[in-house]
């Protein structure tokens, strides 16, 4: 994203959208992934927390990177939100939050 981008408002909106998707959005994806993994991994409920947490720490940077590589800013934001919604749905379907 160097000098070949025009530095106008379009560029700023592009960066701002991707920055939101890549920071808050990426964390949201990682958090939903962590919850879904904790609910669905075939392990005792305490043990499942460990791989769920560890993998979430890898999901977060991958989501951030993807937000800056996606073809357009709206697709980046949309993709991130869709992934978060899907993972949240899995967590919810698997019984989150625990009673």
């Amino acid at each position: 994203m160097g000098a070949h981008f025009r530095r106008g408002w379009g560029y700023r909106a592009n960066i701002a959208t991707r920055a939101v998707a890549g920071s808050l959005g990426a964390y949201l994806v990682a958090a939903c992934f962590a919850a879904a993994a904790a609910r669905t991994l075939p392990l005792p409920r305490l043990d499942a927390i460990v791989p769920a947490t560890m993998l979430a720490f890898l999901v977060a940077p991958v989501a951030t990177i993807w937000a800056f590589l996606a073809p357009g800013p709206l697709r980046a934001l949309g993709g991130i939100l869709a992934a978060a919604a899907l993972l949240a749905g899995i967590a919810w379907a698997a019984g989150m939050p625990a009673a």
Binding site: I49, V50, P51, M54, P61
Partner: protein
Amino acid sequence: MSAVRDGARQAMAWLHGWTGLLLGWVLFVMCLGGTLSVFKPEIGRWMRPETIATADRATALTAATGWLGKNAPNSFGWYLTLPNDRMNTVEATYDPGTGFVYRALDPVSGAPAPRETLGGEFFYRLHFELQLPFPWGRLLASLAAMVLLLGLITGIIAHRRIFKDFFTFRPAKGQRSWLDGHNALGVLALPFHIMISFTGLLTLATINMPWPVTANYGQDMAAMFQAFQPGHVDRPAAGKPAPLAPLAPMLAEAERRLGKPVGRITVEHPGDTAAVVTMFRDDARQIAYAAGAVSFDGATGRVLADFTENRPALQTYGVAYGLHLARFAPLATRWLYFLCGAMLTLAVASGMVLWVVKRRERAPLSLGNRIVERLNAGVLAGVPIGCVAFLLANRLLPLGMPARAEAEVSAALWSAAAALLLGAALAPKRSWPLLMTLLALGCAAAALLGGAFADSVQASVTLTLLGAALGFGWLGLRQWRPRPKPTRRRTREQLA
């Protein structure tokens, strides 16, 4: 296809630069504090040169709890680390009635060391709490750790030739040299950098990634902690006084059951009929942290729980945690941790400098980048100056002074703040050599004024300070000389 790859690489370089710029100074503080924390016990011994008595674990535990029983009887708990071959004192966190404090207790008398200091604990806390109130320091540290992990990954992707750069350094060529240096520091210890940022995130997982716990336990934290630490019994105080049973027999029983020496001990509700004493296996005996524990009824000395971790997932967590803390590490491994940590610290610092150098060589700096340039001098030189001021204050403040340990910390913070002001006020070509010279003089003064040589540990700290003085002095001297003009100046027009 190649254009797409180049575009991706550029995007990653952009992301690497901007995320690094946003959190770089925080990361610098964390990396420096973490690197020094590798030698937390050794620094503690250097900072308490009068306290040289040694005692076995049982004697030290009895002395420490005897003193605490008289001086902190109403503390919610006493959190102790027994002496070992790195540390001769009992490290204690307790509440004497004015809020929790950390002190090193003499292993024979049980009283706090006369030279009241946080010792290496200051750097350890700085590393992940950044002198900020709970939970903000840990949250900021978590954010910075995530950015570090992201920076490592984007750095690798943005990089064209990892293997070649391994062997590349072109000195005295401005931006080129800073880039080569930054790359080499990052690449040479890359596995360490990835390990330390990942495991670092994990140590703060309860605060930065609590969602798996919420998913599986909801609000029932008590059930989670019970399952997590079955060797620890958590129960409320009964409100009825009862003296603590002798601790030495409990220690012997715990070590018999664990099969290994005990390292950490917690005493909760001391002096109450519901007192609980928990003894954890020494973290230096295996990579894993908190590998096993035995709980005792404090009033009777009866065993309440006994647990050695053998669940694979939890063992994995313990090993990852232990890899970050490096308490398992023998001396040579500790020096490797220190070296790799120093490389990461310098990689962060050189990245921050590179941000400015790269832009300075192309065109006059914008206002924002001129601020970055001045903050760089203030932070990158000022934080180490604060660390050295902490060591100097340790030797210069009078022994009986009230709130002495806190005054040492204030000395560190005010010195760093003064350096930050100098960096902001002076042009970088003046502030850098000035601050580097001050840093070198500070290291030399700490080594010469406070030089402690009672044993090999104290001597090593003193010699390391002398080495740092020489290194920073050399850098400072180089910077006093006028900077040669960059050989080639490119403008924005030429780039476009």
